[in-house]
């Protein structure tokens, strides 16, 4: 399977508005000021606590990050005289700052708010604790900045293992997925699968928001799996545990007969276990995918049954030689 020339999309920046749009409910956010700067770009998936900047040390000031203000920063500002605070803030605001996020529903001083309003730097406020704000903002930003690609294939959650089924057009990916759904598994996406790499080592398959859980079955047309089979048979995203490539049965090709060899495929720089499954009339591919998924779970639990069988066999042979 060739995964090297996949087009990779990676956002260079996101607007503060996007953070507000996506995280308002989760972080219980409100806007205190600087609303006109809501379109300001954020370029890095990281945050900064500007304590040192407020104390006057501006070398290495990570101004391009979202600035999180907690108890420490707010109380420190309160201890400064108005003149000191004005000067420190003016120095800070000579840098481009995307936004401030306050935690614990803290109330900043008016000098600070006025300056944010004048400079158009959005001030958001959450009711959550500082560590909670930091964790959730970083998680959100990381996900936003994750590289993404689109693969022609089918993604199914089979016994809790995210299986990405690939193969040439007409090989039977959709039909296999349909049978898996029929057998109680969940469809993530058919034909168009968005793939996202999160935290540089996890791949997630996601459905496309336009086609959702519709599927094209040749001869029948477009079918909505969610309507036909119900909400229990679909999900919108699933971490990929296994890539299964269906291919036409070739006499001369070598297929793994023992399961002792483990192959991997690399997608967006992440290595995922990979199986090549030959397709032939009369071969029930759905059941093969099921057993592959279950075997993958066993391996994850530390039980490589093929290896165990072979070790037992070798023990028997060793004992036989000695006796």
């Amino acid at each position: 399977m060739d995964t090297h020339d996949l087009p990779v999309n990676r956002k260079k920046s996101i607007a503060v508005a996007r953070l507000l749009d996506q995280m308002t409910a989760e972080l219980d956010l409100e806007v205190l000021g600087g609303f006109q700067g809501i379109g300001r770009p954020v370029y890095t998936p990281d945050i900064n606590r500007p304590g040192l900047a407020l104390s006057g040390y501006l070398e290495y000031f990570a101004n391009d990050r979202i600035q999180v203000l907690g108890n420490t920063e707010i109380h420190f500002m309160e201890r400064l005289t108005a003149a000191q605070l004005m000067k420190r803030l003016a120095n800070m605001f000579s840098f481009e700052i995307p936004a401030f996020v306050l935690s614990r529903r803290l109330t900043p001083q008016n000098i600070f708010l006025d300056l944010c309003n004048r400079s158009g730097v959005p001030v958001l406020r959450s009711s959550f604790s500082t560590d909670e704000v930091i964790t959730r903002v970083i998680l959100f930003l990381n996900e936003e900045f994750s590289p993404e690609t689109v693969i022609h294939g089918t993604a199914v959650d089979c016994y809790g293992v995210g299986c990405l089924i690939t193969g040439n057009p007409g090989i039977g990916k959709s039909e296999t997925a349909l049978e898996l759904v029929e057998r109680g598994h969940r469809l993530v996406a058919d034909d168009i699968v968005s793939i996202k790499c999160v935290r540089s080592d996890r791949l997630y398959a996601e459905y496309n928001s336009i086609i959702e859980h519709h599927m094209e079955i040749r001869g029948v047309g477009i079918v909505d799996i969610k309507s036909v089979y119900g909400v229990g048979h679909v999900r919108n995203t699933k971490r990929i545990g296994l890539v299964v490539e269906l291919e036409e049965w070739r006499k001369d090709a070598h297929y793994d007969r023992t399961g002792l060899m483990e192959e991997f495929v690399e997608i967006l720089g992440v290595k995922v276990p990979y199986l090549r499954i030959p397709v032939r009339p009369g071969r029930n591919i759905a059941i093969i995918v099921e057993v592959a998924a279950l075997n993958h779970r066993l391996k994850e639990l530390g039980l490589n049954t093929a290896k165990m069988l072979n070790e037992r066999l070798m023990n028997v042979m060793r004992e036989g030689r000695q006796g």
Binding site: P7, V150, H152, D190, I192, I211
Partner: protein, 90 residues
């Protein structure tokens, strides 16, 4: 093997909805060449209806068609004709 690209504009008023998408797939399947359509940073296989639908290409959209294969030239001409004929719509 020839590798050709061509920019094509959507001219029918409803854009590339299900029926035109099916017509494109039908058309492209006659050819051996691989055909991809790129729009708005998305690149999809023109032999997939679902892929074409995700483009959500409205009237006036400019699509980049790329063909590679032994009959690429004929394929691109056929697709061009199909778009120009507005898929038999308005």
């Amino acid at each position: 093997m020839p590798d050709i690209t061509k920019d094509i504009q959507v001219v029918n008023s409803l854009g590339v909805h299900a029926r035109p998408a099916a017509a494109i797939v039908q058309c492209v399947l006659r050819f051996e060449s691989d055909v991809f359509i790129t729009f708005n940073g998305n690149r999809v296989n023109a032999k997939s209806i679902m892929g074409l639908l995700t483009l959500a290409a409205t009237k006036g959209s400019r699509l980049k068609i790329s063909c590679s294969g032994p009959d690429a030239e004929a394929a691109i001409r056929a697709i061009d004709d199909l778009f120009t004929s507005k898929f038999g719509e308005e």
